[in-house]
Symmetry: C3
Subunit: 215 residues, 3 copies
């Protein structure tokens, strides 16, 4: 082993680590919403799974792709079930606000990963650029939208005036550009995801708002 192993390991496993952070943070946001709404154990598991898998699954239905990523990699189903048991044992009311604020950061990673990844998968299906970008946005945001709908709320995404989906929309174009310029996949994916993550972190830190629309 050379001194550079940790870095090599990070490059080799980076996409898996990032994807895991994204899926876990989406599942956790489902769990927290379920806890707030006092759902039972089954509701908790279903909302967590819907939030984590919903976006990617809808993307694959729209693209007519099979198998779904949670069928190719069964670990995720068990991870969700394990998360629910862990939440049942350890999650308490006083954790909820804290956890929600803490979760904005991994959620930003999920946003970047899923939108860049969704855009690339759609491009590989030979869809036009604008459609690929829309698929990336759908992959990144539909889980959260479905989570809010099943717990009977207007999706936060539609109403909170924070830049979120719009950042996914902007940053996903980097994947399109990289594809046009024949960059290696991991470069365009990585740049796009990092750009979206950076924008989202900026939006949280500096409190950016969408242009207001006064009806």
């Amino acid at each position: 082993m050379s001194a550079s192993s940790p870095l090599q390991w990070l490059v080799a496993n980076g996409s898996i680590i990032f994807e895991s952070v994204g899926i876990l943070s989406y599942a956790l946001s489902g769990l927290i919403e379920a806890a707030r709404k006092k759902l039972d154990l089954v509701g908790m598991a279903m909302v967590a799974a819907l939030t984590a898998f919903g976006g990617g699954t809808l993307r694959d239905i729209l693209l007519d792709r099979r198998p779904f990523f949670w069928v190719e990699n069964l670990t995720w189903i068990y991870v969700i079930l394990g998360l629910c048991v862990a939440a049942m044992l350890f999650l308490r009311s006083r954790h909820l606000d804290l956890t929600e604020r803490a979760m904005q950061w991994p959620d930003a990673i999920g946003l970047g990963i899923f939108s860049a990844g969704g855009t690339q998968i759609a491009l590989q299906s030979h869809l036009p650029a604008i459609v690929a970008v829309v698929m990336g946005v759908i992959a990144a945001v539909f889980g959260g939208v479905a989570r809010d709908i099943v717990v009977n709320e207007i999706p936060k995404l539609f109403i909170d005036h924070q830049p979120y989906a719009v950042l996914a929309f902007i940053g996903s174009w980097i994947v399109v550009i990289g594809d046009g310029l024949h960059w290696p996949d991991f470069v365009s994916l990585g740049l796009s995801a990092l750009f979206i993550i950076a924008l989202r972190v900026g939006a949280i830190v500096f409190g950016w708002r969408l242009p207001v629309w006064k009806v």
Copy 2:
């Protein structure tokens, strides 16, 4: 150019014009609902797109057809984005009621176009007549149903006692009959759409109601 050019042009482009009126009026109804609920810009764009594209997309998922019509004709995505910008600049509260009443008319056109068109597409996929008619109804009404669900309302369609889906159901059988009698497509499509539009206009003008069901 002969004196009859305007008419010839209308016949040649009639279906595109009608379809455009339908899609635009559905998108506008999404915009108006989003404005009422004080959604932000992103919510506005998403609800408008869902209302305009939802029915046709669900129809194509059920029929396992690709590409979706908004993928074949990318203009529509840009039209929705443009509509949102226009709404942001020009739409004000005092317009909302006015606009909603004005929109009943183009919406009736959308109902006729989408249900006749959806029925025909399902027949071309060799589905039985009753299923084709159901697909036509789904194509015509699902966008509005999804719009109401995401803004956290019971779908108006399910609860307002106005004849709407039932007119699509009745009128779509004309496409089935025309198909059985080998009429040219544009004849059965046109007759069915016009019949549904006429029924819907009648329902609005004369205040027809569904038979009441007293629980």
Copy 3:
């Protein structure tokens, strides 16, 4: 005809009878919910159809299977329409509570039939065991979840602390085991469905509750 004809007839037609009981009880639960929410006739028909067909249709979309069971067997569409007419003529407020309690029993049959059947269909599509079981659960519960969402409630399934989906999850593994041991289809299907039905009846009769999760 031998003396055993009634038994032979039951064995030959058992799955159709059971399936019919399941679909009818799901459709009725949609009707009752629609009546409670004072939906109109169209809403009633749509919610009944969504509840009865929603789970199987989503299962088939996820598995990329066509035709849907309600396209293969058109009778069901007419049955739903007939049910709505019957409900309109005969259903009154004072029936609602009574009907809902009475319906728990056929609903338990639906739960057993749809989850065992959904699991087997997914196994025939060569999906891994855990995914097949998840598909069984989705087939059995999605109709009821969609019913509650469209009438603007948090799905009862997610919040009432009664064992329901979890019984489908447990009992569907019998289909997986039977498949592994090469039992005849009707044996593993029948055992799994009966086991789930028995558990559900036990849950209703003895008032079993999910382990409580105190946030």
